[in-house]
């Protein structure tokens, strides 16, 4: 009944938030596979190693939805998007959807996020299964 997507990548430095996202996605029933990254750098490395994960994860890889937290150490959400845009064409994914996650709503952050082609949504935490289902249905 619910729409499905390949897989979803959750990028958040807070372990608790990652867990909340996992619950929400599972309850929404929109995907069979969830990947996790601690920060932007981690996520970028994950995306770059296409061949490695393709072999391991099969058709579930690459993920076509990324839930991206903004405020993270090492490499934050915006830095990740900058780096992602700099990747070679073959390293980038077709029709990738990025949903930005933030604890407190900021118009400046939202405006900044909308400048990236891949960003399709701006969500204030906590994330709910209804919101996930709604977004995946719109794909």
């Amino acid at each position: 009944m619910a729409s499905e997507c390949n897989s979803i990548l959750v990028v958040d430095d807070n372990e608790s938030d990652r867990m909340l996202a996992q619950f929400a996605i599972e309850d929404a029933g929109v995907t069979k596979k969830i990947f996790f990254s601690n920060d932007g750098e981690d996520a970028l490395n994950f995306m770059k190693e296409y061949d490695l994960y393709k072999k391991k994860e099969g058709d579930l890889y690459p993920p076509n939805v990324v839930l991206l937290d903004i405020n993270m150490p090492k490499m934050n959400g915006f830095e990740f998007l900058d780096q992602y845009e700099k990747l070679n064409a073959d390293e980038r994914y077709q029709s990738l959807i990025v949903l930005m996650l933030t604890s407190s709503h900021s118009d400046e952050d939202k405006a900044r996020a909308e400048k990236y082609d891949a960003v399709k949504g701006f969500i204030t935490k906590p994330i709910t299964e209804e919101r996930i289902a709604e977004i995946v249905a719109g794909l």
Partner: protein
């Protein structure tokens, strides 16, 4: 925002002030130069004008006098045949020539040029008649037949005299005195010669001329006395005036004799020893008066010259004083501007810090709250669905995030406090701090990491004890947290030493995993966290460390590599 804008404007104000000052200075300099040039020109032209008028008057007076002498000497010679008069005539004729030659110096003035031409003409014609009278041996001729009394001669003399008297009175007293001197000499010659002429010719009309000139002489002497501003000139004039009185008495007596027809007796009076001796006294007095006058005029000119120089020096001094003052003001403004610039930068960095602080505060304070909120919703759902197995896990996350929030609020309060309060300086006991830190770090585990200490500072350190405790707690706590599990003997070392000037140096070093190079410039930033998987803090720790050290007027620096990190703190003692 508004603070920064204001200081920028203040800064521009300083630049504008300097600009205005420079403009004012240039205007001032222009004014001073104008004043200087104007004064110099005025005084120089005044000196030149006085010198010019003085020289002009000398020439004019001489010409007037010599011409009278020439007329009268030639007439006397023609009456008496006495060579003395011929010699006087020739002598004065030469002097007149010289003087006329001198008058050519004044040809720059057109008016004077025309006049000079006029007496040159008349002078030539008079000289021609006079030399004719002298050479023709017209001696003893009745005066009415003498060409020296002829109509042509009289006409040329009129022309000549009127030309010479065209010169206007000088307004300047010393030049006017000089004019009067010539006038007195001339009138005196006229008086003497009129009386002598009468004694030879018996023509009483000479007395008319005589009587016309006597009041002129009196008036000239009176005017000269009035203008004389010193005792010497006055006494000389009095002497001249006395001799003059004596001469007039003799001349009047001679006129009396002429009126009675006793010409020989009149001649005896007019050429007698008495008359000649009074003439001598008079001539000597006039001569001395002339000398005194010219030295006075010279002195006046010198004074004026000195005044000019003095004023010039004064103006220059004033100018230099102004320049000095302006330079002083400029340097002060410059210093003030630099101070302002520094303050501006400080304010700007404070402002930036504040902006980061408020942004991160709202974000970082809300983050754990939102997480707690998410878990409470999640717990409610699981309760609804009867999923009790993971309730304890969900609750542990609520607890963890609440604790995180608690720590964060404590740290934020610490930041706010560090801006406001200043602890008193007190003696710092390092072993005591070491015990405190040991208790803290080992209560969190990490028993395999060694804490090595070495306190070698020679000067007892006085500082903010509680701040220093927090600083070391933080640095050492971080070093324990980021120790390298891969090395055989992980350690953290705390060392102290004294610098020659009494400053305290504290070194905290470790052989941990180090700080990645790309993060070196963010280490002391607000809400900096190196690695989410290892760090559970607020991200305010190192920011607070730096803040507290700066509050104590100290500095902190660090170096780091994958083989370890070293922080070096330098603190002034008893600050």
């Amino acid at each position: 925002m508004s603070l920064t804008k204001q200081t920028v404007e203040n800064n521009l104000g300083g630049k504008r002030l300097i600009l205005w000052l420079i403009v004012a200075l240039i205007l001032n300099a222009a004014m001073v130069i104008y004043l200087y040039v104007d004064l110099y020109q005025t005084n120089t032209s005044e000196i030149k004008s006085r010198q010019y008028h003085l020289a002009l008057e000398d020439v004019r007076g001489d010409i007037e006098y010599y011409s009278e002498v020439l007329t009268m000497s030639s007439r006397l010679y023609s009456f008496t045949g006495n060579e003395k008069w011929k010699n006087r005539y020739l002598d004065n004729a030469n002097k007149l020539q010289d003087t006329i030659a001198r008058s050519k110096d004044f040809t720059s003035n057109v008016y004077i040029d025309v006049l000079a031409k006029m007496f040159n003409d008349a002078s030539d014609k008079l000289a021609a008649i006079e030399s004719k009278a002298l050479s023709e041996q017209a001696i003893g001729l009745p005066w009415k037949d003498n060409i020296l009394f002829g109509r042509e001669y009289q006409k040329q003399r009129q022309l000549y005299v009127s030309g010479i008297q065209q010169f206007s009175k000088s307004a300047h007293s010393s030049i006017r005195l000089n004019q009067l001197k010539s006038r007195i000499a001339y009138i005196d010659e006229v008086l003497t010669m009129s009386a002598r002429m009468a004694s030879f010719t018996g023509d009483i009309t000479w007395e008319e001329r005589y009587l016309r000139f006597v009041p002129l002489l009196d008036a000239s002497i009176a005017e000269a006395l009035e203008l004389s501003n010193n005792k010497k000139l006055e006494s000389l004039l009095a002497k001249v005036s006395d001799a003059n009185g004596a001469l007039i008495a003799i001349e009047e007596a001679a006129f009396g004799l002429v009126a009675k027809g006793d010409l020989p007796a009149a001649q005896v009076l007019m050429f007698g020893v008495d008359y000649e001796s009074q003439k001598l006294i008079y001539a000597k007095g006039m001569d001395e008066f002339g000398h005194a006058l010219s030295s006075e005029v010279l002195a006046e000119i010198q004074t004026l010259d000195k005044k000019t120089q003095f004023s010039a020096v004064l103006i220059l001094l004033l100018f230099m004083l102004l320049m000095g003052f302006a330079l002083f003001v400029i340097s002060r403004v410059h210093a003030w501007e630099e101070k302002l610039e520094l303050r501006n930068r400080e304010l700007k960095s404070k402002k930036d810090e504040l902006e980061i602080f408020s942004y991160s505060m709202s974000h970082d304070l809300k983050a754990p709250l939102k997480t707690i909120l998410g878990f409470s919703t999640r717990i409610a759902k699981h309760l609804d669905r009867g999923r009790y197995d993971d309730l304890s896990l969900l609750n542990s996350h609520v607890h963890k995030n609440a604790e995180k929030l608690d720590v964060l609020i404590d740290d934020i309060m610490d930041v706010i406090k560090s801006e406001k309060t200043k602890d008193l300086s007190e003696e710092v006991n390092f072993p005591e701090i070491e015990d405190h830190i040991r208790d803290g770090v080992y209560s969190l585990g990490h028993e395999h990491v060694q804490l090595l200490t070495s306190f070698k500072h020679t000067h007892t350190f006085y500082g903010q004890k509680s701040s220093l405790k927090q600083i070391l707690e933080n640095l050492i706590g971080n070093a324990f947290k980021y120790h390298n599990p891969g090395v055989e003997n992980p350690y953290v070392s705390l060392k102290t030493s004294s610098e020659p000037d009494g400053k305290l140096q504290i070194t905290v070093s470790d052989n941990g995993i180090g700080i990645p190079e790309n993060l070196h410039d963010k280490v002391f930033s607000m809400f900096f966290r190196a690695d989410a998987s290892l760090s559970f803090g607020s991200g305010l720790g190192l920011y607070l460390v730096k803040k507290k050290i700066e509050n104590m007027k100290g500095v902190i620096d660090f170096s780091s590599s994958p083989r370890g990190t070293e922080f070096i703190i330098t603190l002034p003692n008893k600050f």
